[in-house]
Structure formats: structure tokens, C-alpha cells
């Protein structure tokens, strides 16, 4: 396992390096200017010049890049231009909320996806399969910004059982935090759950057609065990890879969902920072997300190997 991690390290670092270049370049290509957005709508040129001077935006691009990377290597993520405070503080504040949201969404994805997949593949009753199909289709067809508003209308406005948005840290008040977490996590999870459900359904159907399931059936194994013990474990490894991909989507999708549920996470921070051209925050944040993705990929590989004994022994 350590060997695997070590082997992947150089290419992971390469990705991060290229990503940092791309992020830096793209941000400079985007029109707009941190100084003008910071100056406010009625500022004159002298105000803008003063701000540019203060932020070091008149330095050459390579020197700005090196300054950023140098800072990162020494653990200094730099100050936020526009939002206020240090980039590191902003990101660590948002990271907690986003990790809570993504993790909860991931749980939903796994739970709902498995339910969709298993029911879709094995349910005998036609209406159950139809319901699963309706749910998965709906989850993919209705965009999160509509799902989110509908969920809020239903659970917060009509039933008044859950808050419409906002965030309480799991660390300070877990009981309340969970109530804030439910709707956004569900909203974020639905499309991915539908994708996972389809994938698992397909995998389970495939696995159930395999010879080894016939072997087990011939041994008199109960259909329930055929599903959970024989078919599902074989459908899982590829689903884990998919889940790894979906984690990226969840982090990306957070931009929308966080806005709808007033969730103070990285998605909101990213959007805010990008809107104000807060270069250090956007740069740090995007690089962080790329890092997370790379790490998730690595974890996915390890979990895959753990789930599939054939990989372990190769």
C-alpha cells in the first residue's frame, strides 16, 4: 500500500504543479482586476493605483507566481485581497463547512445510490422499479437549484420541520447541525446518487448473471445473500471508482447548493473570491480542490484494491 502511494506521488505532484500554472494563468486571463473591484463603484484612478500598489499587482507575472508558490511552500497562503483576513483562515473556515456538507452528501449518495441500485436491479414488484426509475430520472432531470428550492418549500416553509438554510458547526452543536445539514446534503447528493444507483444497478445485474452466482444458487444460498454477499461486493469496486469521481462533482456542485442553502463553505467562498478577483484566495482554493481530488483518487485506488482481492495480489 505504501508502495502504491509512493509510486503515485511524482505524478500527483506533477498534476499539482501543472494545475498551479493553469490556475494562475486562467485567473490572469479572466478580465477584471482585484484593484478595481476593491475600489468600489465610484473610485477614481488614483484610488485604483493606490490599491494596485498595495497589492503588488504591478509586479511581473512570473514574480507574482513565484511569490505565490514560494508562500505556499513556506506555509503562507497569503492575505485575502478583497474579502478580508488571511486566505488560510478563510479557507479553513469554509473547509469545515464544506467537508461536513460533502461528507454528509457522500453518505446520502452511498445510501440512496445503493438503495436505487439494489431495488432497481432486484425489486420484484413493478411499481417499486418504476418508483426507483422515476426517482433516479427526476434526480438527474431536475437541477439542484430547483430541487433545493422545492426541498426548502416543502420541509422549511410548509412542514416547518427543518431550517431553510444556514449552518451550525457539527463540532459545536451536533444535534442542530444535522438539521441544517439534511436538506443541502440531500440536494447535493441526489444527482450523484442517481448516477451511482444506475451504475450499481447495472453492476448488480451483471454480477447476478455471473457464473459464481449460479454456483451459489446451486448451493441453495438464499437470494438475499446472493445479492448482498455475492453480487454486491463484485459490483462495488467499479462503483468506488465512480464515487471517487463523484466526490469531485460534489465539491464542484457545492457552488450551487451552498448558495441556495446559505451554507458558508468553500463553494460560496470560491464564488465570492472569483467575483471579486481575490487572486490569492481563488488560487489557494482551486489548488486545494485539485489536491483533494488527487488524494481522493488515491484513496479510491486503495479502497478498490482493498475491495478486490485480485488487485491486492498482483
Amino acid at each position: 500500500m505504501r508502495g502504491h502511494v509512493l509510486r503515485r506521488l511524482p505524478s500527483a505532484l506533477l498534476i499539482l504543479f501543472v494545475a498551479s500554472l493553469v490556475i494562475f494563468a486562467v485567473l490572469r486571463l479572466v478580465p477584471g482586476d482585484p484593484a478595481t473591484s476593491l475600489a468600489g463603484p465610484d473610485a477614481g484612478p488614483e484610488t485604483v493605483a493606490a490599491i494596485r500598489e498595495r497589492l503588488g499587482l504591478d509586479d511581473s507575472l512570473p514574480s507574482q507566481y513565484l511569490h505565490w508558490i514560494g508562500g505556499l511552500l513556506t506555509g503562507d497562503l497569503g492575505p485575502s485581497y478583497a474579502i478580508g483576513g488571511q486566505s488560510a483562515d478563510l479557507i479553513s473556515d469554509g473547509l469545515g463547512a464544506t467537508v461536513e456538507l460533502t461528507a454528509a452528501a457522500l453518505l446520502f449518495v452511498i445510501a440512496l445510490g445503493t438503495a436505487f441500485g439494489v431495488l432497481g436491479a432486484t425489486a420484484r414488484r413493478g411499481w417499486v422499479r418504476a418508483a426507483v426509475r422515476a426517482l433516479t430520472t427526476g434526480a438527474l432531470a431536475v437541477p439542484p437549484f430547483v430541487t433545493g428550492v422545492l426541498l426548502v418549500l416543502l420541509f422549511a416553509v410548509l412542514l416547518k420541520v427543518l431550517p431553510p438554510g444556514g449552518h451550525v458547526s457539527l463540532l459545536t452543536a451536533p444535534d442542530l447541525a444535522v438539521q441544517y445539514l439534511l436538506l443541502p446534503a440531500l440536494c447535493l447528493a441526489l444527482p450523484s446518487a442517481a448516477v451511482l444507483g444506475r451504475y450499481l444497478k447495472d453492476g448488480i445485474e451483471r454480477a447476478l448473471a455471473e457464473d459464481y452466482v449460479r454456483t451459489a444458487t446451486a448451493a441453495g444460498v438464499h437470494p438475499r445473500r446472493l445479492l448482498w454477499r455475492h453480487a454486491l461486493p463484485n459490483a462495488l469496486p467499479p462503483a468506488v471508482t465512480l464515487l471517487g469521481m463523484q466526490t469531485g462533482h460534489l465539491l464542484g456542485g457545492a457552488v450551487l447548493v451552498e448558495a441556495i442553502f446559505a451554507w458558508p463553505g468553500l463553494g460560496q467562498l470560491a464564488e465570492q473570491a472569483l467575483t471579486r478577483r481575490d487572486y490569492p484566495v481563488v488560487q489557494d482554493l482551486l489548488l486545494l480542490l485539485v489536491t483533494v481530488f488527487v488524494v481522493v483518487q488515491l484513496i479510491t485506488d486503495l479502497v478498490y484494491a482493498w475491495l478486490d482481492p485480485r488487485i491486492r495480489w498482483e
Partner: protein, 530 residues
């Protein structure tokens, strides 16, 4: 962030029982059924009592964008916390008559070249340091710094000398007479001069205001608690105030509908319809006007350099429909920038241009055009897009075919202040709600020296300068205001569409909320009825 949720009242009502049941069903597996609910009652009150003012309670304010410390000294879209943490020297009433705040009284010199301010002596900052004239001197000098990006810098820059007479009396000497000094006093927050850099980073905001900032959670909100040593006796009533960042309009509405927030000024007009009939909420439009939606015209681009063409555009737009459909009916359709409360407001000015496509076509024809193709820049936000679409349709009826250019705010801002706007754009401007002269010296679109429309006219410059440096009241002032209005309407480089007032949505139990002219939230006298 600890106190963003009000706690659950003790007695189990039918509704809360229902909620526990529903919530419990939903929380299945979390083992939380029967625990505290995160669904708040409408505003949590202190003790039971009558409908009169009373102490206690927490008010949650929903804001659509977070506090930006670096813009502490500029007017940004979010200045609500300014008057909670800080005070200003004076405060206007609706008729633009200043009233004492930290300044108890003032005297203008006869030539208008200096003013003597007498300050309250019983004021301390949150850290206990007494407030003195030095703090005022610092505040003025601070705004003179271009890096602060203060819109009223030009007015602050007129103050050239400070004569301190003891700790609580101060004479400000002016380079020349200006008539919007009290705009500055309304605008300028008095901050602790020792911690201004920390304030700009958002780490420490030390003021003299009724509430102390206990925590700023970027992206999430601000928490304030009552300043027990506030100079206004027995005020404020409220124990605490929460600012909750809810950037998305629909989420903002939901937050209010569910009682999670009790106060907001930032619900877009289109979203207000759902709140209109809500039993627990009251909607209060302020007709003082905090800003106006306008159609900007780049006067250097042919054929828009022709005033007639610009006037045709002003006739082509249907302000009433725009108001009704894109802004939910909250505001005042007006061709002039002035809100009803402005001394410059006239009904003839407001209705100078009304929807008249035939006239618009006629004017275009007279200028030698039957069809124009022009770009129109707007912010890529839902409300702004709706306005732009509405304008596009109206202009098309007059033969002006515009291509929309949805643009992200940062790029738009850069184009705006670096004079790089395309032929047409639509945005909002402020500063028409105070002294009319302030508009032309502080609001960039109207600036006589340098504006986005690249409009120059010696006449405009002369009138503006004259209006700014002459007394604020009297017949001459009225005449100058009229002249400014006439020029603005006639030249039509900024075509005003709708004056947007602040629309306050508040819980029915919340009373005594006011805003100053720069949308600083004043909760000195606010209370939650029983």
C-alpha cells in the same frame, strides 16, 4: 459561530410536536428525534410582556452579501453594520435636516468656510477609551486617503484645517464652501483611530455604537451583543443582533418566511410577491431612495454622441412596466435621479420622459436613423438580466436593436470606473438621496470631471461646482438644483429608469428599525414586541 440559532422555547406546542415527529422521521438514523429543533420561532423574545418597547431579544438580519472590511470606509452594497458598531456625527431626517448624534450642535461660519462642532462628552469606545475631537480629526483625514475609496472623499478633502478647542469642540476649516458637509457627517463613521488597520482586516472593529461585534465568520455572518455602556441611556433594547449571509434571493425569502430571520432589506422586488401576504411579516418601502436603476450611454460612440438619439432612448423605455415586472412594483418610475424625499424632486422632472415609442422613433428618424444596433452591458445576475431583457424589448420597439452583454460584476466594475463601457449599459447608482450636489461630485456616473459616459460639458461642470459650493438652502440652491436636473434630463447620458427605495421586510413583532441615508442600520430604538 455559536449563536446563529435561537434556542427552542420550552413548552411543546402542537406545531412543535408535529415538527419533532416530522423531523424525527427525517433524522431517522441520526438518533436525534426529540432533540432541540433548529427551526426558530419568529424572533426569540425575552420576557413576556405587552406590545410596548421592552428590553431583550435577538434579531436576526438576513443580508445578501458578507461584510467586506476592506470597504469599511466606502459605501458598498452592505453597510448595515456600520451604525450598529459605530456612530456618525449627525443624522438626517427625511427632509435632509441634520440631527445630533455624536455632534450635539454645530455652527457654520458666515462665509461658510468653517464649521464649529460640539461633541458629546459622555461617549466611550467599546474598549472603554473616551471619544474626543481627535477621533473626528482622524476620521476626516482617514477619508481623505485615496486608498479608502470613500465616495465622499472630495467633500472630506475640502476640510483643510482642524482647530481643536478642548476635547469636545472642534472647528473644521474648509477650502471653500460646500453644501454637502452633512452628507459627509452622515456618511463618516467614527472609528477607533488606534485600530484602523485591524478594522480594515476585520479582526477588530472598535466603535462607539450600540452593539459590539463579537464575531465575524466570513461567508456566514456577524454576531453583535448589546453595548451596555452605550451613550444613549437604556438603549438599545435588544440583547443581540445576528447578521446572516444569505446570498441567494430565494434562500433569503425562505429565511424570512420561516422566521429564521426577522429583518432584511435585500429581497429583490421580483421575490417580494410571496412575502406580501405572509401573516408574520410586514413590508415597508422607504421612499427615500437608496439607489436608482439607470441606462447608461457612452456619449463618445456614434450615433449616441447625438443628444437626440439619447433622448429617443429615454422615450423608448417603459419605466412603469419595468417597475412592475422586473422590480416587483417597489420603487418609483422616474426619468430624473431624485427620490421623492430629495429637495431636487419635481413631478415634471420625474415624468420628463414617459414611454412613447412613437416619439422615440420620430426622434431617431429626425436624427437620421431608422434602425440602430447597439450592445448593452448588464450584470449577469437574475434581477439585472430581467431589467436588461425588458429594456431590450422596449428599445427594439423603437428600432434600437440591442445585444445583451451579461457581464460578471468584477469585469463590469472595471469597465465602469475605467471608462470602458460599451455603447449602453444598465446598472444602479446611489447618492441621489442626499444633497443633490453630492450626486455629481461623488457618484461616478454623474461626475462632471470624469464619468463613464465620457460626457463633458462646461455648462454641467459650472452648474455642479456652483451648486456644490453654494448654501444648501434658499432660492439660489433651488435654481441650481433645477439646472442640474435639466441638464441631466436634456443630455440624457444617464437615463434614469426607476428610483429604488429600500424595502424593509420585518417580522411583525419587530418595531423601531430605521436606516440612515447611506443604509446604515439603526437599531437604537428597535424592540421585539411580546
Amino acid at each position: 459561530m455559536t449563536e446563529l440559532y435561537p434556542s427552542m422555547p420550552g413548552r411543546l406546542s402542537r406545531r412543535s410536536a408535529l415538527r419533532s415527529a416530522g423531523g424525527g422521521a427525517l433524522l431517522l438514523g441520526f438518533g436525534l428525534a426529540g432533540c432541540r429543533s433548529a427551526v426558530s420561532e419568529t424572533g426569540s423574545a425575552g420576557q413576556e410582556g405587552s406590545a410596548g418597547p421592552r428590553r431583550g431579544g435577538t434579531v436576526s438580519v438576513a443580508i445578501n452579501s458578507d461584510f467586506t472590511p476592506s470597504l469599511l470606509f466606502a459605501q458598498s452594497s452592505q453597510s448595515y453594520q456600520h451604525r450598529l458598531i459605530y456612530n456618525t456625527l449627525t443624522r438626517y431626517d427625511d427632509r435632509l435636516t441634520p440631527h445630533p448624534e455624536l455632534a450635539t450642535s454645530w455652527d457654520y461660519a458666515a462665509d461658510g468656510r468653517s464649521i464649529t462642532l460640539r461633541l458629546r462628552s459622555d461617549v466611550t469606545f467599546h474598549d472603554g477609551r473616551p471619544f474626543t475631537a481627535d477621533d473626528v480629526i482622524f476620521a476626516v483625514k482617514n477619508l481623505q486617503n485615496p486608498a479608502r475609496a470613500a465616495q465622499l472623499r472630495s467633500t472630506a478633502a475640502v476640510i483643510t484645517g482642524f482647530d481643536k478647542r478642548g476635547d469636545h469642540e472642534l472647528v473644521l476649516r474648509l477650502a471653500h464652501r460646500v453644501n454637502n458637509l452633512f452628507d459627509l457627517f452622515e456618511f463618516m463613521i467614527i472609528t477607533d483611530r488606534n485600530s484602523v488597520e485591524e478594522a480594515l482586516k476585520g479582526t477588530r472593529l472598535n466603535g462607539t455604537g450600540p452593539f459590539k461585534l463579537t464575531k465575524w465568520s466570513p461567508g456566514s455572518g456577524l454576531s453583535f451583543v448589546r453595548n451596555d455602556a452605550y451613550w444613549l441611556k437604556d438603549r438599545p433594547y435588544l440583547d443581540a443582533v445576528e447578521f446572516r449571509v444569505v446570498s441567494q434571493a430565494d434562500a433569503l425569502v425562505s429565511s424570512l418566511r420561516t422566521g429564521q430571520s426577522q429583518l432584511s432589506f435585500q429581497v429583490p422586488g421580483r421575490n417580494l410577491a410571496v412575502l406580501k401576504d405572509h401573516p408574520d411579516l410586514t413590508i415597508t418601502p422607504y421612499d427615500t431612495g437608496a439607489g436608482a436603476t439607470y441606462l447608461g450611454v457612452n456619449t463618445t460612440i456614434a450615433p449616441l454622441n447625438d443628444r437626440t438619439v439619447r433622448q429617443a432612448l429615454a422615450y423608448a423605455v417603459d419605466r412603469d412596466r419595468l417597475l412592475a415586472q422586473s422590480l416587483g412594483g417597489y420603487g418609483l418610475a422616474s426619468a430624473a435621479p431624485w427620490p421623492k424625499s430629495s429637495p431636487a424632486f419635481t413631478e415634471t422632472g420625474r415624468t420628463h420622459y414617459t414611454h412613447d415609442p412613437a416619439n422615440a422613433r420620430q426622434l431617431l428618424k429626425s436624427a437620421g436613423h431608422t434602425r440602430l444596433d447597439l450592445p448593452l452591458l448588464h450584470l449577469a445576475l437574475p434581477g439585472d438580466t430581467a431589467v436588461a431583457e425588458s429594456l431590450q424589448y422596449d428599445l427594439k420597439q423603437a428600432g434600437v436593436h440591442v445585444t445583451l452583454q451579461p457581464t460578471d460584476p468584477a469585469t463590469a466594475q472595471k469597465n465602469l470606473i475605467s471608462q470602458k463601457m460599451p455603447a449602453l449599459w444598465t446598472m444602479s447608482h446611489g447618492f441621489a438621496q442626499v444633497q443633490p450636489s453630492t450626486l455629481a461630485v461623488s457618484a461616478y456616473p454623474f461626475n462632471e470631471a470624469r464619468n463613464t459616459s465620457k460626457f463633458h460639458s462646461a455648462e454641467y461642470t459650472r452648474v455642479v461646482q456652483q451648486a456644490w459650493t453654494s448654501p444648501a438652502t434658499g432660492a439660489a440652491a433651488g435654481r441650481l438644483r433645477q439646472e442640474i436636473s435639466d441638464i441631466l434630463l436634456d443630455e440624457a447620458f444617464i437615463i434614469d429608469l426607476v428610483i429604488r427605495g429600500n424595502v424593509q421586510i420585518a417580522a411583525r413583532r419587530l418595531h423601531g428599525v430605521t436606516l440612515n441615508k447611506f443604509s446604515y442600520l439603526d437599531l437604537d430604538h428597535a424592540y421585539l414586541a411580546g
